[in-house]
């Protein structure tokens, strides 16, 4: 079938399929020309370090998107889970490790709350997580009376440290990406997540433990959001009432930019990493080249729009392709 396609068509196909990578390359080259220092190892390392925050949460939400779900509460979880960790550390004079565990655990619990309403009561994920977006942030503000919360200095030391020259945030980012990749590609659970997103009813009929899968993805998303918030807070040492607000959209955008589909069944952990890194690259690049701070989101939005546009073109083309396979094209 593909043999009948012209060279031009095949090239177009390749562009559509690898769009994000191509955009990435163009963005890097462009900023490289504008400011050669941009491509220096230090700057590139910084970009990866800064993308860890959105990236970790984007990896988590990829699981949810794979099941045709959505999680609008990630921004609030990023705020609330590390906050709970902060209280735990203060209360028990605990170590950073304790804080890390509590942040992940609290995120998981918040995700489980979402999952309860979605799975047990059968309410739409969009509505459940919209509600918990309000509720989680409200609870966090209640705990702090909307005031800034300062963490123990030890946390910041940890957040700014590095192992073998590699900053902690990058290490965490890489570990999360690797774990997610292994889970999605090499475990039965991962395969069932893809299956469920492809055909939810079919998954029930096939005897896949659907409620367990759905519960798990929201817990994963919550845990990842908690961890991502903690990683950023570990670098700045405090948390204020607006922390993470509106970030749910950045996270979704990163996952979609990395190839995840809002219609389920499509998306990878690696894609989320690329998506998050691309967004960060653009915003660092814009700062580097002195573009007005307020204008940066517009350019980012443009890139997301472009990625989504390409995704729709690709799907449309696949549909046409299926219809066009009836007779060979005479060349």
């Amino acid at each position: 079938m593909s043999g009948a396609l012209g060279l031009g068509e095949r090239a177009y196909d390749l562009v559509l399929r690898q769009a994000t990578v191509i955009i990435f390359a163009i963005v890097l080259l462009y900023f490289g020309f504008q400011a050669p220092l941009f491509l220096g190892p230090e700057n590139l390392g910084n970009i990866v370090k800064q993308s860890a925050f959105i990236g970790i949460a984007a990896i988590g939400i990829t699981f949810v998107l794979l099941t045709r779900g959505i999680d609008l509460s990630v921004g609030s979880v990023m705020y609330l889970a590390p906050l709970i960790a902060g209280f735990a550390m203060r209360e028990y004079e605990g170590s950073v490790a304790l804080g890390l565990m509590v942040a992940i655990g609290a995120g998981a619990v918040l995700g489980a709350i979402n999952a309860f309403f979605i799975v047990a009561l059968g309410i739409l994920p969009f509505i459940v997580t919209l509600a918990s977006l309000f509720a989680f942030r409200g609870f966090g503000a209640y705990l702090t009376s909307s005031r800034q919360f300062d963490f123990a200095p030890a946390l910041r030391e940890f957040g700014l440290s590095s192992v073998a020259g590699i900053p902690i945030p990058i290490i965490v980012f890489a570990l999360v990406a690797l774990a997610a990749h292994l889970v999605l590609r090499h475990t039965l659970f991962g395969k069932q997540v893809y299956a469920f997103g492809n055909d939810p009813e079919g998954a029930v009929k096939a005897g896949i433990p659907v409620p367990r899968i759905q519960t798990a993805v929201y817990i994963i998303s919550g845990a990842a959001a908690g961890l991502s918030g903690f990683v950023l807070i570990a670098q700045i040492g405090r948390i204020d009432a607006g922390f993470g607000e509106g970030r749910e959209f950045d996270v979704i955008a990163a996952a979609v930019l990395g190839g995840a589909s809002l219609f389920g069944g499509v998306g990878t952990a690696l894609g989320a990493v690329i998506g998050a890194t691309l967004i960060q690259t653009v915003s660092t690049g814009l700062a580097f080249t002195g573009v007005n701070l307020y204008l940066q989101p517009i350019l980012q939005a443009g890139i997301i729009f472009f990625a989504v546009l390409i995704d729709s073109l690709r799907q449309h083309r696949q549909k046409l392709r299926r219809r066009r396979s009836i007779r060979p094209i005479a060349t």
């Binding site: 039965l188 395969k191 055909d199 079919g202 009929k205 005897g207 499509v266 009836i326």
Partner: protein, 504 residues
């Protein structure tokens, strides 16, 4: 030697006190293909759901391989060795063949799935079924017939003793069907038992060892295939003698050409399609799945573009989008009425008025004239005898398949078109309602319309059409006109034209 694998004893299933299956006793011998036939609503699906563990019986018991069998969930049925191949296949298109086969139980190594072991096992299964695809092929890259074989591979992998097929051939080409029958033959020789549900009685006759006929939830007739001719099957299914499957055509086409199609081409889809339909004529369009029939219909209706060619009705050229073409007198009863024909959750009256809703608007803002809308629906109900309780409240979803199809036809009748394009109108419709739809097709022609009747059921085309056109790979390969050839239509010639390349 012919021992019994599955035994149903006095199975009754009631929904809110209403029996869907009552007092049904049936035995399935090992290595037999048992055909289950009956009209829609006769209780076939309920019975299969009971066997498949989807729903427990209200009364009665089952025994599988001599042991009592009472599945609590589909999973129990699967474990006990019953595989259910649904009409809509249960495959995940974004996963590989291997993943689909092992999606509930993957071989593991070090806590992760063992891809290599799974692939080896899959390869063995594929070899047994002569599927020439690699185990890692994505299911979305397979043709419908091949996907069905993957379902069978799944059943084989689970070593099922009983395999239930629910209308397996509806989406298959004749060649794929033949291959499926080969596979079923082999499964039988292998000692597996098969429950085969189908509306296509000739297939049942050809394939089965034994037939069980259901009507109103009861087993009304049962016996070896040798004693069952098609007439007896139909008699048992509908409970009365049906003089003919098709109504007599009440008119002859007029000599006047109404629809003229000239050289329609679209690269990769159809090439140089030309034909004419006279007023009062039913022109059949036959072809295998994927021959381009529905694609041609979509082009004629303005849903998809065509690079070249023209269509005119009564000498006036028709162009533009679907909305424009409806105004110019084309109606399109689509192949898939749930997803393309109806608003399933909207009331009957709103469905009937949808294509002509513009005429119901009054004043500059287009205020709805609900009385006119209701009158239209009332008229359609009496005209087409749609069986419904409340036209303005009852959603179409609550109607039977045949009545849903009538609603679609009523929608188009309201637009008073001249050309009806009817794509697979009787799919999923039971025998009694089929006859009504054929009668409607006859009426459309008798009223002087042109009808393009697309179907993959040769019988109904032969029964209803004045001429039959055959498509293969996007081209019209032959047109049969019984006024020129004798006897009426030759089945072999039609099939040969549809297969195209095999004959030449």
């Amino acid at each position: 030697m012919s021992d019994t694998v599955l035994e149903l004893a006095s199975i009754t299933k009631e929904w809110f006190g209403v029996p869907a299956v009552s007092d049904l006793t049936l035995t399935v011998p090992r290595g037999n293909v048992v055909g289950i036939i009956g009209e829609n609503g006769a209780g076939k699906s309920t019975l299969m759901n009971v066997i498949g563990g989807v729903t427990p019986p209200t009364r009665g018991t089952m025994r599988l391989k001599g042991e009592p069998y009472a599945p609590g969930a589909p999973r129990d049925a699967t474990r006990s060795g019953i595989a259910f191949i649904h009409q809509e296949l249960n495959l995940f298109t974004n996963l590989s063949i291997t993943d689909n086969i092992f999606i509930t139980e993957y071989p593991r190594r070090f806590g992760m799935v063992d891809h290599r072991a799974a692939m080896t096992q899959t390869q063995a299964l594929l070899d047994r079924l002569d599927i020439r695809h690699a185990p890692e092929t994505m299911v979305e890259d397979l043709a419908p017939g091949e996907r069905q074989l993957v379902e069978i591979a799944k059943a084989l992998h689970r070593d099922a003793d009983v395999i239930i097929f629910d209308e397996p051939t509806t989406s298959l080409t004749p060649r794929e069907t033949a291959r499926l029958f080969d596979v079923i033959e082999r499964l039988r020789e292998d000692g597996r038992s098969i429950l085969y549900i189908s509306h296509i009685l000739s297939d049942v006759r050809r394939l089965c060892d034994k037939v069980a006929v259901l009507r109103d939830g009861r087993l009304v007739d049962e016996g070896a295939i040798g004693d069952f001719d098609i007439a007896r099957m139909i008699r048992a299914m509908i409970g009365r003698e049906l003089s003919s499957l098709f109504p007599d055509r009440s008119n002859l086409p007029s000599g006047q050409v109404m629809v003229q199609v000239d050289g329609i081409s679209q690269p990769g889809v159809v090439a140089d399609i030309s034909f004419q339909i006279a007023a009062g004529e039913v022109l059949g369009l036959f072809g295998l799945m994927g021959a381009g029939r529905s694609e041609l219909a979509r082009i004629l209706f303005g849903l998809d573009p065509a690079e070249k060619g023209s269509l005119s009705i009564d000498g006036r050229e028709v162009r533009g989008a679907a909305m424009q073409r409806i105004r110019d007198g084309i109606a399109f009863v689509t192949e898939n009425r749930r997803s393309e024909g109806l608003l399933m959750d909207a009331p009957i009256s709103e469905n009937i008025s949808l294509a002509t809703i513009g005429h119901i608007g009054r004043g500059p803002v287009g205020l709805l004239d609900r009385e006119a809308e209701q009158a239209l629906a009332e008229q359609a109900r009496s005209d087409l005898s749609i069986r419904a309780s409340d036209l303005t409240r009852q959603p179409v979803r609550a109607l039977s398949g045949g009545n849903q199809q009538k609603v679609v036809i009523a929608k188009w009748l309201a637009a008073s078109p001249k050309l009806f394009i009817i794509d697979e109108p009787t799919r999923g419709v039971d025998v009694g309602a089929k006859y009504e739809i054929y009668a409607l097709v006859d009426r459309l022609a008798a009223e002087g319309n042109a009808v393009l009747f697309i179907s993959s059921e040769l019988e109904e085309l032969i029964g209803m059409c004045d001429r039959i056109m055959v498509m293969n790979r996007g081209e019209i390969t032959a047109t049969f006109d019984p006024r020129e050839t004798e006897p009426r239509f030759e089945r072999e010639a039609l099939l040969a034209a549809a297969f195209g390349e095999i004959v030449t």
